[in-house]
Symmetry: C2
Amino acid sequence: MWETENHSTIRLDEVDLKIIRQLQSNARITNKDLAAQLNLTTTPIYERVKRLEKMGVINSYVALINPVKVGKGLMALCMVRLEKHTKDKLAAFEKHVANIPEVVECYHLAGQYDYHLKILVRDMNTFQDFIVNKLSTNENLANVQSSFVMSKITDTTAIPMLRNS
Amino acid sequence: MWETENHSTIRLDEVDLKIIRQLQSNARITNKDLAAQLNLTTTPIYERVKRLEKMGVINSYVALINPVKVGKGLMALCMVRLEKHTKDKLAAFEKHVANIPEVVECYHLAGQYDYHLKILVRDMNTFQDFIVNKLSTNENLANVQSSFVMSKITDTTAIPMLRNS
DNA sequence: CGTGAAACGGAGTTAGC
DNA sequence: GCTAACTCCGTTTCACG
């Protein structure tokens, strides 16, 4: 529940939530503008933002780049199954994947597959190079089921900040 | 190729790439600091950043929030297959999904499944509510294969800015 | 927790090469 | 395309309610 703070969840009031919503859509909004929207002065905004940063609610501020404009025309999703699931085999695979720059996302899963990977490459040729020369050099890999992104319906880094859900 | 500019890819020199790399890891770095790192003054940095924004290379600046700290303890990935693939049925499903706030990612896929969804919710109860009351209210949905994220090995918004791949 | 004002530094502009 | 210098405005701090 939002009301009952556990080890990791942090108590945030309406003003905090509004600050977070704004910063999630525009990290460069000024404290002055935020203050005006929230009928406050800049000082409390400044202090609340600093507090959210220190608490780790705000992890970082980043620029989002259009992948197509920088030559990354192909996004692929790979569902990976491994041969063996011993602790050190899992760790080895994770270390392997963490060192492949094309992998922008790698999640360890509970479910039908072991890992989910998101890959950003120039085209299908570079994807093949990724599969053959980079991913499948791990000996513990059993099989990979790849899908290719044709269009993005939703693609946001903003966490839905609702009171429920 | 990086050298041959097509309709969407933009010619970027070393300085542009370094600016992009920095802004991808810290959107709030000052032009002054960027200038110092690149042995330039602030004016060219300022103009290059503005140019990258206008060209759509830089899409936006956002704050990244720790989902756990704001009560989103469960990330799920859903692979969705639809019953019928007519143009209007696809559009209807996409419109349906675009209106569900828990869906932070929805990609139309080429491959074994039709859509990939990334879901952020509080816990398994709210996930069930998402599946039963929000996702599967679309009549064209055939089946959903859900996986749950146990850990994140890599999770970056930064596009690998290498000369190859 | 909030206001208001002061000190400081970066954003944005302009002239010149 | 770059430097240097300037103006302006937001950030940051602090005294105070």
